[in-house]
């Protein structure tokens, strides 16, 4: 780790001000990606602006037809939240399988969506549920937010404040873990609301999380059987020593069917 300055912000405005004033400033929102990278000297921010003291950024609330989660809410709180479990139980389950207990106690939803790791779980939920990412400046639809590997629509000085998840009729998440890292090798999140279904895939896209629109269109009825004839092309799918594109593409189909079955309360 290289030397850096550490500032614990007390308000979102102060954090935004610091972020725009200080060159090489980075936000600390749990740090489960940033800190290991800094320890390996692969990242060297001059200033770390810690958001953990900004109390407005933490909390979970039901607001009308949506569950709104503050950016600094750790995964563990989402996993065990009575509000989330009542409204979108599958979202609580998704949060409960992120990383390990240490990660779930420190890692936050804001950190996760802002980092947009291509194997992170939350971006899939955001896309499948049609979430809105609310920043200190504006509201951005999830479809417009995740723009590429570790890339988002966030502009300089923009900070994720909360994520608003419309409550679906049904949601299911199925993840096949990378055997080594236990990140999603392939994770598929399926959500149904009214007559529409959305399918989001994480861990597999060579450009990060994406919607599998062919699958969405294939749902004649919302059940796994509707997806059986569908195959995912390996083109545009990521390959590495753990899983080549062909295997990952195959797993996307399997996980999509399993996620759908889970949404229906079945096991596949």
């Amino acid at each position: 780790m290289y030397a850096f300055d550490y500032i614990k912000a007390t308000s979102l405005d102060q954090a935004a001000k610091l972020l725009s004033e200080k060159e090489e400033a980075k936000l600390l929102a749990g740090g489960h990606t940033l800190l290991p990278t800094m320890k390996q000297r692969l990242a060297a921010p001059g200033v770390l602006v810690d958001l953990s003291g900004v109390s407005d950024l933490r909390g979970i609330a039901r607001e009308g037809d949506a569950v709104v989660i503050g950016a600094m809410t750790p995964h563990g709180e989402v996993a065990t939240s009575a509000v989330v479990r009542a409204a979108i139980p599958s979202l609580a389950e998704l949060a409960s399988v992120i990383g390990d207990p240490a990660v779930r106690h420190r890692g936050t939803i804001g950190g996760s969506v802002a980092n947009n790791d291509p194997a992170a779980d939350y971006p899939a939920a955001c896309l499948a549920l049609g979430a809105t990412i609310v920043t200190n400046k504006r509201s951005v639809a999830a479809d417009d937010f995740f723009t590429g590997l570790f890339e988002t629509a966030l502009e300089d000085g923009e900070i994720v404040a909360k994520v608003s998840f419309p409550i679906p009729d049904k949601m299911g998440y199925a993840k096949f873990r990378n055997p080594a890292s236990r990140y999603a090798l392939v994770g598929v999140c399926v959500a149904q609301k009214g007559s529409t279904a959305r399918v989001a895939v994480t861990g597999a896209g060579s450009n990060g999380v994406f919607r599998w629109k062919e699958a969405e269109a294939a749902f004649a009825t919302f059940d796994p059987a509707s997806l059986e004839k569908l195959t995912m092309s390996p083109a545009g799918i990521n390959g590495d020593i753990h899983a080549d594109a062909e295997y990952r593409a195959h797993l996307i189909g399997v996980m999509a069917r399993r996620a759908t079955a889970k949404a229906l309360g079945k096991r596949l």
Binding site: F176, P179, A180, S181, I241, H242, D244, Y247
Partner: protein, 788 residues
């Protein structure tokens, strides 16, 4: 059996210290004035080092010194050694290149130590290392054996122009060829034994220190054998004479072989301590461990088994290429030769065996002994061949094993070893009963109903432990004897310190060794302390590896205890006023035969020290005895493991449902600790079979340099093991001990792969059988019905 004696499940004495954070590991030690070392490592797999410019680094705050290979050479510090001479078929000695502690002229793998920066703090040393400018001229990377042995490949060492270190062989080629000529059936297999990275929980670490007052060096190091480290650092590397070099290996958090070897980093720390006049500390980070610890396995093998018309084995032919990495590590040469081929007879009566091994240099981290060391590789060859042969001959694999088992002892194999005891059919039958093999078909049907593939795999392994009779290994090229030493110091009030040449790094010696002493002397186990790991305290010893601490280390203690009792009898004869021949020692009492005259062990110890009851010229005062024990044979632990697993063909995920192990370790001192060793060994073997693999890319970069990519087995990958034991005591060992430390890691890989191939219905899968590999294998049509 007493509550703490031999055979008792005594709770580990050392665990209070370990689980309450009071263990004292090298990194816990800080010396006054200590500085920190950080190594500049080669980013290239193979490169000429044209220059090293440290001028900017030396200007950095806190940097005390930067050393390179030139400084090592100027001080006439010798290279790291390989202590086992292997000769090729033509009688020529192996072609070993030099292994300088800091590279001289060339870097030969990614992570090779090129320079060291010593600074006030670790961060400053790292800053300094980043400022060292090394001018490399890249040479062709040769990260695998195919590339390294291709025609015209660049020589990694000038000494081995074709990158072949040796072409070694063992066995009778003519007799084996003749056996194959008359065979009715030949089973052939191509086998990959995947490359592993040992992952001790504690990474390697060292602190070197030099006392200018008396000219003594001290090295704190994560070693499995501090005396061997001192011997090598003194006699070969030339740090200091042995009497001026103290090596301390305190609590060590796991080794699995990787801490046997003498590495560049500790050599540099102890050497540099004098250069900078300050203690020098280095602790590997996990990435450095992945890059530069000695790796394990990495064989490519073609193997054949010849059968007669009745399916009896006639012969075995094995041809192996063994990746030795970029330099020969301390015992690297012996692992794929004498620790490998002599185990190819397995538990079977095989009249002829011929094995050829090419040792190959590649531009990868050195490869050396890792839990099992050669024996897992041999067992994998044997048990895959046996299983496949049985399947090809449409025989039940257990019936095929049964009819080919060795049943008469002693049994001389065609590959050096003479098995002295065992009961292979009993282990198999016991394991099958415990596992409830009879009802496997029902479990398989039940899996099929759920769309899963279920398989059952056997592994009937043997290993050679109790290494080793010194003259025997000497005749095979070992540079050292493999005896062990002990000293038993009885204090005047009858408490006992045992100084052992063995070294514990997780095995529980403080408990098991004390159990033997308490049992033998009839004293409370609390009165026994085990001292190890410090060359200033303990007499020369050979250390811990190859499951030898029980069979060899304890045997030395027993030998010394016998001397203590004999001396005690002499003292007792004076105290009890009887002739020495009439004194019996039992349950902690010296007693005059046929009388009630007796004295306790502690009383006799006191009398030995106050020396009032005997003439000090005729009988020496004191009660302290030492012994060196040199085994007369190897010991041969053996057993049968059965793995039952289920494959999800839609994802390739494999779940081990049931594991039964029946081992014959001879007599057992502490069954709880032995079971722990079996558990850990199986976990490592399952890791090799399903998960672990070191992968270098074409440019020689290690792709699996962290736990993000190097997959370790986890608790949730493993079932609750069913452990059973049978006992045939080792005839050559005073306590009938054989050794248990590596058995699980040796037995497990073929059990897993035999189960997977049973489930798949074909043999086309290599280790590690990752989900991707298994899924791909599931796409291939079975070559036989799984239920056959």
């Amino acid at each position: 059996m007493s509550a703490t004696g031999i055979g008792a499940r005594v709770v580990r004495k050392e665990d209070h210290r370990f689980i309450t954070g009071k263990g004292r590991y090298v990194d816990d030690i800080n010396r006054p004035g200590q500085s920190h070392a950080y190594f500049v490592r080669s980013p290239h797999a193979h490169a000429t080092i044209k220059s090293v410019d440290a001028s900017e680094a030396l200007k950095k705050p806190g940097v005390l010194a930067v050393f390179t290979g030139a400084d090592i050479a100027a001080d006439k510090i010798g290279g790291l050694i390989c202590g086992w001479m292997i000769h090729s078929k033509d009688g020529s000695p192996m072609k070993a290149g030099a292994h300088p502690a800091l590279a001289q002229g060339k870097a030969r793998y990614v992570g090779d130590h090129v320079a060291v920066v010593i600074a006030e703090t670790l961060a400053q040393a790292r800053d300094g290392a980043e400022a060292v400018v090394v001018d490399y001229e890249e040479l062709p990377p040769l990260p695998d054996m195919t590339l390294a042995t291709a025609k015209g490949a660049a020589a990694i060492h000038a000494e081995a122009p074709d990158n072949i270190v040796y072409n070694w062989h063992l066995g009778d080629k003519a007799a084996t060829d003749a056996a194959f000529a008359k065979a009715k059936h030949v089973t052939k297999l191509d086998i990959v034994n995947n490359r592993l990275v040992p992952n001790a929980m504690e990474p390697r670490a060292a602190i070197g220190e030099y006392d200018d007052g008396d000219g003594v060096f001290t090295l704190y190091t994560t070693s499995q054998n501090p005396h061997v480290a001192r011997l090598v650092l003194s006699a070969f590397i030339g740090i200091a004479p042995e009497n001026k070099l103290r090596v301390i290996a305190p609590d060590v958090g796991g080794g699995f072989g990787s801490k046997i070897f003498i590495y560049a980093e500790e050599t540099i720390c102890v050497w540099a301590a004098k250069k900078v006049g300050r203690p020098v500390k280095w602790t590997a980070d996990r990435t450095e461990e992945f890059l530069a610890v000695a790796h394990g396995r990495d064989h490519l093998t073609h193997a054949e088994l010849a059968l007669d018309g009745d399916n009896r084995i006639l012969g075995m032919r094995v041809s192996t290429k063994a990746n030795l990495g970029a330099y020969l590590s301390t015992f690297a040469s012996s692992v794929p030769t004498y620790l490998y081929a002599p185990l190819l007879s397995g538990q079977y009566n095989i009249p002829s065996i011929y094995c050829e091994v090419d040792g190959v240099y590649t531009t990868t981290a050195p490869v050396d002994a890792y839990r099992g060391a050669g024996r897992p590789e041999a067992t994998y060859v044997v048990e895959r061949l046996i299983e496949v042969a049985a399947r090809e001959r449409r025989m039940d694999p257990t019936a095929f094993r049964e009819m080919n088992f060795v049943r008469q002892f002693p049994h001389q194999t065609p590959v050096i070893m003479m098995y002295d005891a065992g009961n292979y059919p009993l282990a198999l039958k016991t394991a099958m009963d415990m596992h409830d093999v009879k009802t496997f078909a029902q479990r398989r049907s039940e899996s099929e109903r759920r769309g899963k593939l279920r398989g059952l795999g056997y592994s009937a392994y043997i290993e050679a432990c109790g290494i080793a009779p010194s003259a025997a290994v000497g005749s095979l090229g070992a540079g050292v004897g493999l005896w062990e030493s002990a000293e038993v110091r009885v204090n005047p009030i009858g408490t006992v310190e045992v100084l052992t040449g063995s070294h514990a790094h997780g095995q529980g010696h403080e408990t098991t060794f004390a159990q033997v002493v308490a049992d033998r002397l009839g004293i409370p186990i609390e009165n026994v302390s085990i001292v190890h790991g410090d060359t200033d305290k303990v007499q020369m010893g050979m250390g811990t590896y190859g499951s030898r601490s029980g069979a060899v280390g304890i045997s030395a203690i027993v030998k010394a205890l016998d001397k203590v009792v004999a001396k005690g009898k002499k003292v007792a004869s004076h105290v009890l006023e009887a002739s020495e021949g009439d004194i019996e020692f039992k349950d902690g009492q010296f007693q005059v035969k046929g009388t009630d005259k007796k004295a306790g062990f502690g009383d006799i110890a006191l009398q030995a020290y106050i020396a009032h009851k005997f003439n000090g010229q005729e009988l020496e005062p004191g009660l302290k005895e030492g012994a060196f024990y040199d085994p007369t044979n190897f010991t041969f632990p053996a057993g049968v493991h059965i793995c039952e697993l289920e494959i999800d063909p839609s994802t390739g995920a494999t779940e081990i449902k049931k594991w039964t192990a029946v081992d014959d370790f001879g007599n057992v001192i502490n069954p709880m600790i032995v079971e722990g060793q079996v558990h850990g060994g199986i976990a490592q073997g399952v890791g090799q079979a399903l998960a672990e693999q070191a992968v270098y890319d074409k440019s020689g970069q290690l792709l699996t340099a962290s736990y993000m990519d190097y997959c370790m087995p986890r608790a949730d990958d493993l079932p609750s093991f069913e452990i059973g034991m049978i006992t045939t005591p080792a005839p050559s060992n005073p306590l009938g001990l054989k050794g248990c430390g590596e058995a699980g890691a040796i037995a497990a890989p073929p059990a897993v792969i035999n189960a997977i191939t049973d489930a798949l219905g074909h043999e086309d899968i290599a280790m590690p059988a990752t989900p991707q590999a298994v899924w791909r294998a599931c796409q291939k049509r079975p070559s036989r019905l799984a239920a056959e």
